[in-house]
């Protein structure tokens, strides 16, 4: 049901984009105004969400420790899995963000001869990382539309990305990797009964939306070439707030832009905000120095306790009878 609805939703967007492409007015609105709205929504939404998280304090220091802590000097500690100082906490976070360290631990379990056997299951890590890195490269490559002349680092990135020179224009490795990653993540969600069982509309929709962006992008590069100069002019218009009506835009470009705009506007309000949230996760970004440095809870409120005096008052006779010392005779 959730899968079906998300397929319908993506097709509806495509259909809308097709209609937009057919109308010069709608095309102008999309390319001249909607993008600013999208940008404002994205920026506002992103700041709002991060602000909302940041506003909630971290009352306790609760890192999840995955290696030996720093204790006695002759015991070797593991600073990257159990941060003992700022530098090691940053190292741990870098591992999480750039290498997906925790996902790399992934294992699976099979019942063999009536006992659970744990096997390595790095595929989720591999395709997940591949998907994210290629997505990042593709976003960076698109910067070539935003600067004149094209930044040298972006040119080299593109050249490297098209290193294998398969086809004309060269197929980007990142494009293939993105599609590969998407296919794996999507198929896994559909095929594995447990993952299908937990999947919501948003889980399928985000994957399909990005797939829509990738497919329309590839179509424009390899099958229905668009006028790159026209696009560059269009983007330059965005950046200088001097957008001119582009006239007819192709159906594929219209779809590509519509998918991208929806993704950008929707991102802050969806699970894709894990992009910002991962930095704030208290179980990962905190130092495990609990016993050496006191952590302060801003709302640490007094609670009713049972004092020693109350305790002794109740048990004084029994304590005396057992020969235990008391405060008051």
């Amino acid at each position: 049901m959730n899968l079906l609805l998300s397929i319908i939703a993506v097709f509806a967007i495509a259909l809308l984009a097709w209609a937009i492409a057919a109308s010069a007015t709608a095309s102008s609105v999309l390319t001249m105004y909607v993008l600013y709205l999208v940008f404002i929504v994205f920026l506002g939404g992103f700041v709002y969400r991060i602000g909302k998280w940041a506003k909630s304090p971290v009352p306790f220091r609760i890192p999840t420790t995955c290696g030996q802590e720093k204790s006695l000097p002759w015991i070797k500690n593991n600073p990257l899995e159990n941060p003992c100082c700022n530098a090691s906490a940053i190292g741990r976070m870098a591992g999480e963000i750039f290498l997906f360290r925790s996902l790399f631990r992934n294992s699976d379990v099979k019942m063999i001869d009536g006992r659970p056997v744990y096997g390595s299951a790095k595929w989720l890590w591999f395709f997940g990382l591949m998907f994210h890195i290629s997505f990042l490269i593709i976003v960076l490559r698109h910067l070539r539309f935003f600067t004149e002349p094209i930044l040298p680092c972006i040119s080299s990135l593109s050249a490297l990305d098209g290193f294998f020179e398969i086809g004309v224009p060269a197929l980007y490795i990142s494009d293939a990797a993105l599609l590969g990653g998407l296919t794996f993540l999507f198929m896994r969600r559909v095929v594995l009964p447990q993952v299908r069982y937990i999947s919501l509309f948003t889980d399928y929709f985000s994957l399909l939306l990005i797939a829509g962006i990738a497919v329309t992008g590839l179509l424009m590069r390899h099958f229905y070439p668009v006028d790159l100069n026209a696009i560059k002019t269009l983007v330059a218009g965005w950046l200088t707030f001097k957008s001119a009506a582009p006239g007819e835009i192709g159906v594929v470009l219209s779809m590509h832009l519509s998918f991208v705009f929806i993704l950008i506007a929707w991102l802050p309000f969806s699970k894709l905000m894990h992009l910002g949230g991962v930095f704030l996760s208290p179980t990962r970004n905190m130092i495990n120095n609990n016993r050496s440095e006191r952590h302060v809870n801003p709302w640490n409120a007094p609670v009713r306790v049972h004092t020693y005096e109350e305790y002794e008052d109740e048990f004084r006779d029994k304590m005396k009878a057992s020969g235990l010392p008391v405060e008051k005779e």
Partner: protein
């Protein structure tokens, strides 16, 4: 422990992992006997100022909730979203990748999809979305949102008291989402409308009044410790002293009450007493702070603080320099991650220094509380103990890392160092089941009761099977640990899945191996079993 009422191991191991045909939101919880814990008695709620004390059971149709229970829960959620970044963030950023799913011992042991940490969290996330997000308010089910109904509350109760807060899922989550945090908040919310289990609240109420979970009064504590001293004298010929509530001692010693109350914890406690005697430590037990464990951790953050407050208060009253803590798992979660923040700063204590070796425990300089395996590992390292590991020759040991010391501290090497110096035959279990990947005993977080036995055996199955492997491979006959709940619950677990394996604390090994001044020739270990037998 009688296993008569639950399926036999060869039946229980037939676990189906395919999810039910109905969607999870449309699959109400079934309170099948053997898989849930009895409701808390009204007197325990009253003792702890918890609202809605009444007679009820989870299997009842009517839970006798307060009229405005939904409002109470939603207000409680709002408050906690504003107080805990962990809670708010973990409500928002899960992508449902499912990496956590088969990491939960309850899922592996039951196949129930709501035991996948991701779905256990969705139970509460769905309500969060419905009342606290625009998408959930507008699109309902399409946005993964649902109304807070009595059925939802029952589901929360069943599954939040079917999570041991072990944090294993958090190790594997790419964002570090910690189901323990979510369960803790979930239980807090349930407590707001008086839905809690007796196995948690009775110990908490006892602890509040008498200072320990078991409700042992001052004289009883003294008798029990003296009894252990008698046993030590019987085994070794050495009479050890048991200082209690002694003002002016250097160190206050706090350990779980289970250590002096019941086997096999008592043997570990004998190990402590012998060690302290042998090194001439100027220490004291306390009857007011006679509990290291803290069942507040399984109730609410406020309750953690209320129960934990005794430790610093008593250390101050007795005028000790610092505090030493015994072998326990969740006790150390509280001491390591909560105590100083909640009840500190302990500026009336001194930075811990071992009076025997002069070692400064810099890692505990603020909290001023040292773990006994750190203390003993240091003694061994500095050659202050005479140990004869031959006395543990009859023991073929494997070691279970306790969830909390593993994933909330990172205490891995100290116990192993002690083991390597006291026991000659030591075999590690499979890598995926030890250290930060250790499996829970299946009965922590207050679930170690008899009525919940089937679920305990299911949840403990991954741990038990890892033990069975080393039993088959190396003939292991003893399971070591540094947790009092483990010592009680793993014993039952072994009896069910791997009969013939008994459970011990690391300081029982120390007690066996420790060569004491003036001791007689030892023919038995602390349990009275023949050495080498």
């Amino acid at each position: 422990m009688s296993f008569a009422k639950i399926p036999k191991p060869d039946e229980l191991i037939n676990i189906k992992y395919s999810p039910p045909k109905t969607q999870w939101m449309n699959t109400p919880v079934d309170f099948r006997s053997g898989t849930w814990s009895y409701a808390a008695a009204a007197k325990n709620l009253t003792a702890l100022d918890i609202p809605n004390p009444r007679a009820w059971q989870p299997s009842d149709e009517d839970w006798k909730l307060p009229e405005n229970w939904q409002q109470i829960i939603l207000d409680g959620m709002k408050e906690r979203l504003e107080k805990y970044r962990s809670f708010r963030l973990f409500m928002d950023i899960c992508v449902r990748c499912g990496a956590c799913a088969d990491k939960c011992h309850f899922y592996i042991g039951s196949g129930d999809p709501k035991n996948m940490p991701v779905l256990r969290a969705e139970l509460i996330r769905s309500v969060y979305r419905r009342y606290f997000t625009t998408a959930g308010k507008c699109f309902g089910k399409l946005a993964g949102a649902r109304d807070l109904t009595v059925d939802v509350l029952k589901e929360w109760f069943y599954y939040f008291y079917q999570c041991t807060e072990c944090r294993r899922c958090s190790v594997f989550c790419p964002y570090g989402i910690d189901q323990a945090e979510i369960t803790m908040i979930g239980r807090e919310l349930l407590n707001l409308v008086g839905c809690n289990i007796n196995w948690v609240l009775e110990p908490a109420a006892n602890c509040f009044r008498t200072g320990n979970h078991l409700g042992i009064q001052p004289g009883g504590i003294k008798d029990m410790l003296e009894f252990l001293a008698d046993d030590i004298e019987d085994r070794t010929g050495v009479r050890v002293e048991v200082p209690i509530n002694k003002k002016g001692a250097d160190i206050m010693f706090v350990t779980p009450s289970a250590d002096y109350f019941a086997d096999p914890g008592t043997y570990t406690c004998m190990g402590y007493l012998m060690l302290f005697h042998e090194i001439g430590l100027n220490y004291t037990f306390s009857t007011y702070a006679s509990e290291g464990g803290n069942f507040g951790l399984f109730t609410s953050h406020d309750m953690i603080k209320r129960l934990n407050a005794k430790i610093y208060a008593e250390a101050k009253r007795l005028g000790v320099k610092w505090i030493l803590g015994g072998e326990c798992g969740h006790m150390w979660r509280v001491i390591h991650q909560y105590m100083d923040t909640m009840n500190g700063p302990a500026d009336f204590l001194q930075e811990p220094v071992s009076p025997i070796t002069g070692t400064r425990f810099e890692n505990a300089r603020s909290t001023k509380m040292v773990h006994i395996v750190e203390f003993t590992a240091d003694l061994i390292r500095q050659n202050k103990l005479k140990l004869d590991s031959r006395r543990n020759q009859h023991i073929k040991l494997t070691f279970h890392d306790s969830c909390n010391t593993a994933r909330a501290m990172g205490l891995f090497e100290e116990p192993r160092y002690i083991i390597s110096n006291t026991c000659r035959q030591f075999y590690e279990m499979a890598e995926d089941t030890i250290r930060e990947k250790t499996f829970c005993c299946g009965a922590g977080a207050g679930l170690g009761n008899d009525e919940n036995l089937e679920m305990r055996m299911r949840g403990g199955m991954p741990r038990a099977m890892a033990v069975r492997d080393v039993v088959k491979k190396h003939g292991v006959n003893r399971l070591g640990c540094i947790c009092a709940i483990d010592r009680a619950t793993l014993t039952t677990l072994m009896d069910y899945w791997v009969p013939g394996v008994s459970v011990m604390g690391v300081h029982e090994l120390v007690g066996n191996a420790l060569v004491m001044k003036g001791e007689k020739e030892r023919t038995t270990d602390l349990r009275g079993d023949e050495i080498g037998g």
